[in-house]
Amino acid sequence: MTRLPVFTFVRSISLDLSFLLVWAALAAILLIHVGQNFIALRAHMEADRAATAQLQDIYETVNIAQQARIARLHWLLDPGQQTREDLQEKQDHYRAKLDARRAASSNAAPPSEFMQNVERLSREVMALVEQISQIPETVHMSLRSGHLRLATDQILANLEAERDRIAHEKDVSRADIKADWAAMIPSLLLLSSLVGIMALRLFFKFRDDRTQAIRAEYLEELARERDRADILANELNHRVKNLFAVVSSIVTMTARGEDSPMLAAQKARARINALARAHDLSTKPDKTMSHSQQGVAELWTKVVEPYCSNEGRLNLRGDVVSLIPSLTTPLGLVANELATNALKYGAWSGLGGAVTIDIRGDDQGAIRKIVWTETGGPDARVGSQADPGFGTTMMELSLQQIGGQMSRVWNSSGLQVTIDIEPLKS
């Protein structure tokens, strides 16, 4: 609908002060014009109605006069008692009508000149009728007849003259009414199109404002999303660089603790691969980049699994504890060291041994304790008491990073490592 040229035009009108002033001026002029015409129209319609009423009065009076004439003819033909009574009856009827009309008009205003005229004529008719009834029978019929005809004809002529005058008036007021309408209709049409244009313009304004508001909201949302994405990218970049720094340190420190470059490379590589597995979890797209959907249990499984030959040799139990990003690197490294050692010296070095990992969190779902228990392997009391190399240092350093402490017990059934982690200070 907005493609119609009229709508396009209306929409292009700017609702500024000059437009509003021009619109208001035009509307005022048209309104005044219509108003004046309307007042004149009402006056002319009133005149027309009055003329119609007057004409009706005249017709009634003429009617009575005619009846009086007919009564007179009757009386002339048969001046008996019956005719006199008929005449009397008509006389009474007419008087009652006259009285009623006088009562109706006297309520509103003093009788107009016209009413006075009609009344006078009516009275003349009455008097005539009275007169007729009083004429003795002895008077010659032709004389009576002539006298009365003259009187009634005169009255009728007067009435007709009056009727013509009023009919002319009515014609004039009819013409006036027509002229009033003719003058008013163009103004009315202009005024209504003016109002229509304004209404349409306001409708478009309202609609455009709404569209604008929705668009602005959308853009704002988009900008917010972009900012958030920038922050996330920045944060991710920072994390990656930090991780590379840690990896560099691991390589350097691993090399420091080993005499054989080949062995150092293998160890460093195993640690880096473990970190990669751990970060598989934490770098999954996660909107807040804080609490991951993945838990601590998944992290340990991911890191440790490659060292364990089949599923039955790794048991996980305990609480569901969410993995926060700062835990990923330290816990990943610790898990890797424990698994490496289990494969070298512990439960996974032989055939039947198994490892149980018990994970405990607090009410808030934060990690508090991890217990690594080896069973079914060689007697731990006999074997190596602890890996003297960088592995142990790295575990201790990693746990220090997250406020953790490690204690190791070498049992006959195998090694048990208990890691206690302090609650995060907020």
Binding site: V246, T252, L333, L397, Q401
Partner: protein, 133 residues
């Protein structure tokens, strides 16, 4: 390519780094260069206390210390006239470039030799000849 490890013998170096493993590595490198390590400090508050005592000749500062910025410590060192080097994963930060125009910035990850070289160049050496090249 490889840079000769500078000699930091007799110097005491403050190390502020919240990544414990990295701190350990930096400490080892600093010790290998002959210097004594003050720290490492993993918390801003501890680092600030150490900077107040100022029993060291130079410092290596990580910028983001567990979510807090190291600038109070940097300002304190600057006020005391102690040279330091920033060791950060965000070397492009506008704050660093505009607020500490004279301070060397070492971007992570970096060869620690490079870090130590920046540090040794920041140290005042009145007795040594001005430049190799």
């Amino acid at each position: 390519m490889s840079v000769k490890t500078p000699n930091l013998a007799g110097q005491r170096i403050l190390i502020v780094e919240d990544e414990v493993l990295l701190a350990h590595d930096v400490c080892a490198s600093v010790a290998e260069a002959g210097a004594t390590v003050t720290g490492p400090f993993h918390k801003l508050e501890d680092a600030y206390d150490a900077a107040t005592d100022a029993r060291f000749e130079a410092a290596i500062l990580d910028v983001d210390i567990a979510g807090k910025l190291v600038f109070p410590v940097a300002d304190l060192l600057e006020a005391k006239g102690i040279p330091f080097v920033f060791h950060t994963a965000r070397p492009e930060s506008q704050t660093l470039r505009t607020r500490y125009t004279e301070t060397p910035i070492c971007g992570k990850p970096a060869a620690l030799d490079w870090l130590l070289r920046l540090l040794s160049e920041a140290l005042p050496r009145p007795t040594v000849a001005p430049s190799k090249d």
